[in-house]
């Protein structure tokens, strides 16, 4: 297969970026998207055309959340429930033009080419996205039974890989699905309810502070989440927020 690639090139955070066009040929349909970029890079190096295209990637099996490219107008490319590394060239037509852009959001500045800095997500988690435990001194694991459907819902929310596709897809670059998934995961479990009110307040405040937009219920995040995390989690986040402001747990 043959493709025309339009790739965002930007030497470093301060440099001005631009699109560069590359032609690539002889790609097998069962080649993954990132392997296609590997082949391109091999050529860019060997033929001394340019510095290889930098892009984040690691596990290449859709779980680490490292990869993330905005391909032809969709984060992680034109398929549902996948990360960029799970996208295969068979999803494209021979001769296609492919536009590859980095995630675009104020809190995700570009580091180089297609690599962005997502440490904002870490900061949101650090603001409260955990249950405060210290090692040891915890009760036996079976002390608190948890209804299966609740545990399953918590698991679904917890499967977030922190790739940032929700932010990249959202027209407001909002991190509500990311925050909602974490808040939901913990709020659905009895262990997490103790700090629930405090958690949601701190995480939302941090999210706002970092410059993410707000949710306008477009649900592009839900459509692009590689782990198919549902928008109900955003609703639960809102509920938790209201609860934190007016509920029993508020500071008296």
């Amino acid at each position: 297969m043959k493709f025309t690639l339009h790739i965002w090139r930007q030497e470093n955070a301060k440099a001005k970026g631009h699109f560069e066009t590359y032609e690539i040929d002889n790609i097998r349909p069962d080649c993954s998207f990132l392997e296609m970029l590997d082949i391109l890079n091999e050529r860019l190096i060997n033929d001394r055309i340019a510095h290889p295209v930098c892009f984040d990637n690691d596990c290449r099996e859709g779980i680490c959340g490292m990869c993330g490219l905005y391909i032809n107008g969709r984060p992680h490319g034109n398929d549902d429930g996948i990360t960029t590394c799970q996208l295969h060239m068979r999803k494209f037509k021979d001769g296609d033009d492919i536009w590859i852009e980095p995630w675009r959001a104020k809190p995700f500045p570009v580091i180089r080419d297609l690599v962005v800095d997502r440490s904002a997500f870490d900061k949101i988690i650090q603001a409260g996205g955990y249950i405060s435990t210290t090692t040891g001194g915890v009760p036996d694991a079976n002390t608190i039974p948890i209804p299966k459907h609740k545990a399953d819902m918590a698991m679904d929310a917890a499967s977030c890989i922190g790739c940032g596709a929700c932010v990249a897809a959202c027209k407001n670059a909002s991190a509500m699905l990311f925050v909602g998934a974490k808040v939901s995961h913990l709020a659905l479990l009895p262990q997490g309810q103790i700090e629930a009110a405090d958690r949601v307040k701190k995480m939302v405040a941090k999210m706002d502070e970092l410059g993410f937009g707000s949710c306008t219920n477009t649900y592009a995040c839900e459509a692009e989440c590689p782990k198919l995390i549902k928008r109900q989690n955003i609703s639960r986040l809102n509920r938790q927020w209201i609860g934190a402001l007016f509920g029993r747990d508020r500071k008296e």
Binding site: E11, N12, R28, C31, S32, L34, E35, D38, I39, E42, I45, N46, P52, C54, N57, D58, C59, R60, E61, I63, C64, M66, Q86, H88, I111, R112, D117, R118, S119, D122, Q126, A127, G128, G129, Y130, I131, T133, T134, T135, G136, V138, P139, D140, A141, N142, I144, P145, P147, K148, A151, D152, A154, M155, A158, S159, I161, G162, H185, L189, Q191
Partner: protein, 652 residues
Amino acid sequence: MKLDSKIPAGPLAEKWTNYKSSQKLVNPANKRKLNIIVVGTGLAGASAAASFGALGFNVDIFCIQDSPRRAHSIAAQGGINAAKNYQNDGDSVERLFRDTIKGGDYRAREANVYRLAEVSGAIIDQCVAQGVPFARDYGGLLDNRSFGGAQVSRTFYAKGQTGQQLLLGAYGALSREIARGTVKLHTRSEMMDLVVVDGRARGIIVRNLVTGDLERYAAHAVVLATGGYGNLYYLSTNAMNSNGSAAWVCHRKGAAFANPCYVQIHPTCIPVHGDYQSKLTLMSESLRNDGRIWVPKKKEDAEAIRAGKLRPTEIPEEDRDYYLERRYPAFGNLVPRDVASRAAKERCDAGYGVGTGYAVYLDFADAIQHLGKETVEQKYGNLFQMYQKITDENPYETPMMIYPAIHYTMGGLWVDYELQTTIPGLFAAGEANFSDHGANRLGASALMQGLADGYFVLPYTLQNYLADQIYVGKISSASPEFDAAEKAVRQRINRLMEIGRVETRRATSLQTVDDFHKRLGKIMWEYCGMARNTESLTRAKQMVKELEDEFWKSVFIPGTANEFNPELEKACRLEDYFELAQLVIDDAIHREESCGGHFRTEHQTVDGETLRDDKHFMYVAAWEYQGHGQPETMEKEPLVYEHITIANRNYK
């Protein structure tokens, strides 16, 4: 070099209790004056750093990715073992201990393994308290499933994403400590060297991957939790950035490297499909709970399938060879990984392979029939989806194709009972050390070991080391040792950057880092992979040496050292792999027996099982670095089994 494993006295079951009650501690006010460096944010690293932070130590933690949550522990699918006996099926600490020792083919240290089994239950408690959403049954209690090498159900799981959930739990605990200010996080930072001052590990040199700057960090102790070196084989189930370099630079500085030839080959991976392939994807071992592995009984059927003339579903039941069930009726499809891998290779080599010839079927038709599609979907849905995305085939309708691939390295830095390496003050945890899995790791034990080391072992043993360090005062990074280490790293990088830039060389003869890495991997897989012998190993050694020479002449790294430059990162790691590869081969040559993942074709039983030589090889081989290109020297740590009776590893 003298190896002292420091195993505490007393009966096996009391050793850890005895150790804890007599170890030295650091008083709370002094803890904050002590600095600890943790390299790696996987299960072992994150849990250790979080635990140290919670105790009150000053911790610096480093990872090469953009977030601690990306560490490759995240990709573990199947589960985590723990001797909870929630299923009332006869499990106990003793049984988990025995299974692990036997699974490791009697090449692991008894005391360490027992401690691992002993703390396994506490790990589950800890994780549940952190909010890890383990699978539960309808009564709301925790559910279990079975894994290879065990006859009980002791594996706790969270869908097919157990590693992810456990890591996120540890990442949460770590994040809390970062927020509290006890832990400082350094992302996109790669450890380039260990700094040893007066014989003790006192700091590290780090390359900031964004700017290319070299940075110094000093501490009273260094904990290495940087995973294994499986990517030596290029194609493996490891993440692209997983590497063995941090452990290797420590080895260069004097830390002994143990059992490097013990490499685990996982039987259920998606087969290789092309030479541009960058990595192999694991299909969880848990699939073997309900999936049945088979190849055609008739060679002509296998050929017809390979030619695309026959579909697997068209082969009648009586013409299928469920070779694991046939050979190992007691454990069936749930034999340990090394056994299952070799059996698959045996069938494929004999000409019964499907797909490209290097694949066997993992069939769920039976499971779907008796459990129903819905149950199968609930249990393995995300794995099936993953398979379908990669191969474009629907595993609900046609059997999956799988083949073994490099997955885990049992070998690693030699550590004593306290997880301390031969360099005082340098500790190694998780896959980076060699300690608990012997010659083969059982499924769902890696997560257990990583968390055991991080949550429940290091917080104790490290204090024992740090107790007298309070007299040393603050460690400065302005010492001549730091100067020298930083200078050496700079020189090393410059040397690599210069290779492709010597003007006399023609540009066309230059190759990329990946070219070399692929070739190295191929050599290792062909000649030092699932089956090895003196001849193949000697050949491999020669080839690796030649390849290394070629690398130093004609690798080309674009860009500069002072910028974000992934090619340079890869080159540094590959440079270490060349040395490591030679050590793996040396170790494999020296170990004239077959055990676990190390299969020497000269040493096998008549029906092709591993044949150990307990008389001559019941020891840990700890290698000491002697300089580049010099053969390493080996020290033996004899394995003394006081508690367990040595037997043949029999899964029939």
